[in-house]
Amino acid sequence: MSAQVAALVGAHLSDRRRSLLAWGIPLGLWSAFIVIIFPSIEDSLSKAVQSYPEALKEAFGISQLTSVEQYLQAEMLSLIVPLALGYLAVRAIASGLTGAAESGRLDVLLSAPVSRARLVAAGFLATAIELAAVLVITAALTCLGSLAAGAGLSFGSALAGYANVWPLALLFAGFGAIAAGFSLRTSVVTGAVAGLLVTMYVIDLIGRLDADLSGIRYISVFKYYGNAVEDGIDPLAFAGVTVAAVLLAAVGAWLFERRDLAG
């Protein structure tokens, strides 16, 4: 990593340090709460799940809720954490590009001998680190909750489950970089990519609910997300989505180089 990219990544993370805790701690506490209450509701939960419609169980990837790992997947990792981290990803990369343009920082940084592509690369890298840090905080608090309550959560499974969110969220940082190539307004970029995030989730959901429409799942990144808490990380999907995110960011950098930065 060049000294310039390192300087930009450091500055970006320094600016976002509050955000990192503001996302990591609430998500971690929520996740810990889910794990802590599991032993006390385990029996009633199993019975309740048996009465759920099959379609609903299929939609949320629930076959049964007889372990704390399955409960963590159903309550946190199937919906809340991926959507929250996907949104955080686009917020994070937008703050380094469109947010910087709005605050005037971009003009100052681009008075120095740094290329716009490097700015985008640094924003993307800083976002990747921020996402990883939030996931580490969330996973750590979850494991602490399990230890405190004696819930018996497999730490390896929990870590796999949270780590698996990282490439998915990073993909939306890549989309954010592309959106910044078209608009320098943070509200437009975050709105557009958050809409795409929800749309992809809904497409995947529809594909799961209706076997005839299962083909549409291929255009959604959630198709490749899986259930890492129970099945472990699929290395191919993990690497594939990560590479796709990097490619999207590269396209975003290309677009950003070519656009006007109006004052």
Partner: protein
């Protein structure tokens, strides 16, 4: 070789006018003023020179390098104060300096501390807690701390009090002595008159004149209007009785003159 040279530089925003056929050159060691009202095209010209806006036509060269293709190499040798300077509310001037110094490959922060002392700038408070004038001081420091060969300053005295404006004008004179070239935009004729060697007048996106400041002032001189200062207070009636005088009135001191009367050197510190 000119430090800045543009040839029919044009920037159009769809149907909206930007700048059109702007041709000028700034010689080494020269202080060149861009004069014009708000919206005339001064900032658009500067942003096009800095490759923040891509030209619709024409060309611009800085240090003999193409402003688009060689933008990064050009920016290694210049300092820029953007119009309406900002960086982020939570960041302090010192944090911004460190980032810029690292981007420029510098070990320390150059002459930033000396400049901060000179301009009474607080480098440690978050920029969001500073007044517009105090933020502008930070912007000036960020533009000049690395002693660049070329300074591009967009409305540099905007928000500065008269004392700091004086200090700024002194700094520009020192930069010229150091050998730096300066391009500054302003809509203050007085400021341009005091510090610039030549001035380009921008109107409605076009550069309508490039003149030496002295020539410009001579052209604009009203040869029937003279400002005379007497050694002692006089009666207006006595002046009106002088041969050829058709009108006489007392001149009011400008606010700047009043301000400088009350604040001597060194008294502007908080």
């Amino acid at each position: 070789m000119a430090v800045i040279e543009t040839e029919q530089l044009t920037k159009l925003y769809g149907r909206t006018r930007g700048i059109e056929d702007v041709t000028f050159a700034v010689e080494p060691g020269e202080v060149f003023g861009f004069l014009g009202p708000n919206g005339a095209g001064k900032t658009t010209t500067i942003r096009t020179l800095l490759d923040m806006l891509h030209p619709s036509g024409g060309s611009a060269h800085i240090f003999g390098l193409d402003s688009r293709r060689d933008s990064v190499a050009i920016r290694a040798r210049l300092g820029n104060l953007p119009g309406d300077f900002g960086y982020g509310k939570q960041t302090s001037g010192r944090e911004a300096l460190r980032v810029l110094a690292r981007l420029r490959g510098m070990e320390g922060t150059g002459r930033a501390e000396a400049l901060a002392e000179r301009f009474h700038a607080d480098l440690d408070r978050p920029l969001g807690q500073l007044s517009r004038g105090n933020r502008q001081k930070i912007g000036l420091i960020l533009a000049t701390f690395h002693s660049p060969e070329l300074l591009i300053l967009d409305e540099p005295t905007s928000g500065l009090d008269p004392l700091m404006q004086e200090e700024f004008l002194a700094l520009v004179a020192e930069e010229r002595q150091r050998g730096a070239t300066v391009l500054l935009s302003s809509h203050e004729l007085d400021e341009v008159e005091r510090v610039c060697d030549r001035v380009g007048i921008v109107r409605a996106g076009k550069l309508i004149a490039v003149e030496r400041v002295a020539d410009l002032l001579a052209k604009a001189q009203r040869r029937n209007l003279v400002r005379v200062e007497f050694g002692e207070p006089v009666e207006l009636e006595d002046v009106r009785k002088m041969p050829g005088v058709v009108k006489a009135e007392f001149a009011h001191a400008t606010l700047e003159e009043i301000f400088l009367t009350y604040y001597g050197e060194g008294e502007g510190e908080a």
